[in-house]
Each structure stands twice: as structure tokens, then as C-alpha cells.
Symmetry: C2
Subunit: 269 residues, 2 copies
């Protein structure tokens, strides 16, 4: 296999442009970087289109290269310079995959069976969004909805922060908030806005039933019109002097409180 050494070759340029949202949307593809993300991508059928690996990574992650070939993906050996061009981290781990979009329609992701759903309503930081996605996965959520006012889950930082979770559970993108909330309600979920303005705290609300949590912006939370759409606004209690929690930790506390209460309600705790 010949090695791609020139960052100006069409293959490298076609991959590199996927670091930009507009090109991702045009090509309906995105980059998954690092062995963990690539491994999780390869667990899904028909997702991995191309794999770039350095000679060193070909040896270290031989099973990934093998699996990519088995799935019919095109495997390229990439020079360190080409890898640095494709990777978005300071110390690239030697593998980057071009993946097909994995999101699904809202009506497929959220059905009447859903018990726990996370909605990112105005989350702007891709690292935070990826962390919430990872936490929702860990807490056993059925799906995660990125509304049209939130960051793109295919952003490289979000993919990395999700630590593979982007490939684990159904993800919805681009839903307008009112449409998402209505569909969640129609599917039998109680829709709770997580916001510091809530009258009741997490500990005062019954969480045993099917629940969707709506998380807002890192700095200013959720706008009034979103709060009004939800069944209730609930706040994470602050027992010390901190003004607030950061978004990803607040989401972790909410999602795990729901997971625990649902397991207790169903006798699985």
C-alpha cells in the first residue's frame, strides 16, 4: 500500500474539509478520530467509509484496519504530516475514519417505549455536548436529541468528548425545540427543563416514570419560551455557595437521578 504523504492530494483534501460543518452537511459524512471512536464506528454496519492510519497505527491497531477492510472501507496509509492535517488533536493517535452520518429521525429515536431521553436545547460548546452524550449513554438513556439551536454533534470536539457514545444510542439532530417537546409528550414522556429557575429541586420531584430532560445554554440556561413548553422546570439543588453547576455536571446529576429513580420504581435497584 502506498503512503499518502501530500496534504494537497484530493483524498486528503476531501477528508480535511469534513472539519467544516457546511461540508459535512453537503457530504453527509464526518470524521471520527482516535482508536476508541473508530472502534465504536466499526461496530455499526455501513458507517465507516474510509480509514486513514499511520504505519505505526497500522501495527498498533491492526484489528481496526482489518475490520475496516472486512467492511469494505477504503484504507489509506497516511504520513505523519497527513495525519496531523486530518486530526484535530495536538497529539494525534494515528487513526481517523470518514463515517456516514448516524443520526436518525426523531420519530424513530423516540417511541412510546422510551424511558429516558436527553434534549440539548441551546448547548453551544461541543465539548459539553459530547460529555452530555456520553453521560446520557452511561445513564442508559434511550436517545439524545440535539435541537436546531444546539451545536453540531458531528463537530470533532463533540465526537471526541462523546468517547464513542455517538455510535451507541440513537441521536437526533436539528429538531426545532417545540416539535421535539411535543413529540416527547406525545410519546408519553414527562418533559422536565433543567434550569436554575425551577421552583422544585431534583430531590422533590417524582422521577420514576418516563422522563425527558431538556438542557440549555452554558451561560444563560433556557429561554422563557422553552421553559413554558415543558411540563415542569426543575433545578439541581445548590447546598453550598456555588452559583450554579456547569452544564455537563448538572446533566449528569439529573440523568443519574432519573436512572436511579426509574430502577427503584421498577424494582431493579
Amino acid at each position: 500500500m502506498s503512503e499518502l504523504t501530500n496534504v494537497r492530494t484530493p483524498r486528503v483534501k476531501a477528508a480535511r474539509r469534513l472539519t467544516k460543518r457546511s461540508f459535512r452537511e453537503q457530504d453527509r459524512r464526518f470524521l471520527a478520530e482516535g482508536p476508541q471512536a473508530v472502534r465504536e464506528a466499526l461496530r455499526l454496519p455501513d458507517v465507516t467509509v474510509e480509514l486513514f492510519a499511520t504505519a505505526e497505527a497500522e501495527v498498533r491497531h491492526a484489528e481496526l484496519v482489518e475490520e475496516a477492510r472486512l467492511q469494505g472501507a477504503t484504507v489509506h496509509r497516511a504520513s505523519g504530516e497527513v495525519m496531523a492535517e486530518l486530526a484535530q488533536t495536538v497529539t494525534p493517535q494515528g487513526v481517523v475514519a470518514i463515517c456516514r452520518f448516524v443520526h436518525v429521525p426523531l420519530t424513530d429515536a423516540v417511541t412510546a417505549d422510551a424511558r429516558l431521553v436527553a434534549v440539548l436545547a441551546h448547548v453551544r460548546d461541543p465539548g459539553n455536548a459530547g460529555t452530555v452524550l456520553r453521560t446520557a449513554d452511561a445513564a442508559g438513556a434511550d436517545s439524545v436529541v440535539f435541537t436546531d439551536a444546539s451545536v453540531d454533534p458531528y463537530n470533532g470536539k463533540c465526537v471526541r468528548a462523546s468517547a464513542g457514545s455517538l455510535f451507541h444510542l440513537p441521536v437526533v439532530i436539528g429538531s426545532p425545540v417545540p416539535q421535539a417537546v411535543q413529540h416527547l409528550k406525545d410519546s408519553g414522556l414527562r418533559v422536565l427543563a433543567a434550569d436554575g429557575s425551577g421552583k422544585r429541586t431534583l430531590d422533590e420531584v417524582e422521577l420514576g416514570g418516563p422522563t425527558a430532560w431538556v438542557f440549555g445554554n452554558e451561560a444563560w440556561g433556557l429561554p422563557e419560551e422553552v421553559l413554558e413548553l415543558c411540563d415542569e422546570v426543575v433545578r439541581v439543588p445548590i447546598y453550598g455557595q456555588a452559583e450554579s453547576l456547569n452544564l455537563a455536571t448538572a446533566a449528569a446529576v439529573c440523568l443519574y437521578a432519573s436512572a436511579r429513580a426509574q430502577r427503584q420504581a421498577s424494582g431493579r435497584a
Copy 2:
């Protein structure tokens, strides 16, 4: 007031060097950046030594400048260039304070009254450490212990991520882990290591009593010798396909589970 415009003046250089740990330790001072951190520093007596503010920030945050002067701190007007030299963020918010160290001895921070303590045993990322500090404050922890193998809490990123919490609750730095764990036990706290290797999950452990949580490294958790020192190793349950939670979110789930259980046990829930 004359404006500091030259980044090479002794005052600016003396402040700038506090971005390095060795100089912080030599001077026993650190930098608090942004209006939120400065406001919280000013709530404590004898902490703020100097304040640098741009002309614009002097107007916007006049109350901070006034309070600093009342406390006898030296206030400097700083040019944008000087502020850029002192601030460690891409978009500086115009105020930076030189503060005296605020940490306290372990025996002052953890007494027989303590109900909830967070221990950062091998946390290396300052952003994570600051987030855990903020979360511990929010969850009503009595104190936070940074052991000698953890990041410096006076690191600029940690101060920022703590969102003022560094000034809210007693913080201990540099304790060797065995000494910290022994003192926590002697103070009547049950010492729980948060680690994926735990046999029991958070939901299976009685958390109503005084508890110290020990958090480990972002990548590899806690070493065997630390696990053995603790009363029990407890894991956050993973209900989905995620391999793990990130450190700050795991800490949030543990600390809030303790806060809830303690309040339920004491009838305050």
C-alpha cells in the same frame, strides 16, 4: 491614575510570573482572572493584594475596584496589552487580581464535624479539578483535599473552572494520600474510592453517614495502593454502552448522591 502600558515593567512581570507554579509557591500568591473570581476573592478578608483592571473594566466593574481599594489592595489601570499578558483566556474580561494563597492545613479543613469531603488523588487536568471543586461546593461539601499527586488548584485553568468555589470552602493542598485518608478516617468519615473496579455501585451503598470521596486520574483511575487504603471501592453504575464517565461527571454523580442520602438520613430532604 497612570496606566500600565509596558509589559516589561516590574509590576507586570511580577504578576505574570504567577502563571508558573514554582513562582506561585515562592511568592505564595496566585492570579484570579475575571469578574466572578475577583468578586469571590474580595469576599474573603486579606486575600486580594493587587488588582489590575482595564479602563473599560474600571467602569463596568466599578464596585470591584472600589472594594479592592477599601481592602487596601493596590489597584493598577492596565492597557489592553498588559491585560492580555496577565490574562490566560483568549478574550480577557478586563480584571485580574493577585491573591494570597487560601488553602488551609488538613487538620483545620477536616474536623469531626465534617459530613462530606472530596479528595482529588491523582487528578491531572486543571479544568477537571476546578470543575470538581465547583461541584463539591454546590453539593455542600465541607472541604476539598488536593493530594500531592494532583494538579495545583492555583493553576489558572483550575481557578477559572472552579467559578469562584476556590474561595468558598476550605481547600487543602499537597497532602500525601495515605496521610489524608488516615486523617479522614480518624475524623469519623467513611472513605470511599470512586473507581470503575468497585464491586458495589453507588446505588447499593449506604451513603447517609459522613463520607469522603476519593477521585482518581482521568485516564487510569486510582492505583491499587490507594484503593486498598479506602474503606470501600464504589463504582458509578453504567447502564448503557459507555465504557465510563468522565472524571468530573462521575464526581458530580457521587457527591450529589451523598448530599441527597445525607439529607434524607437527617430528615432534611
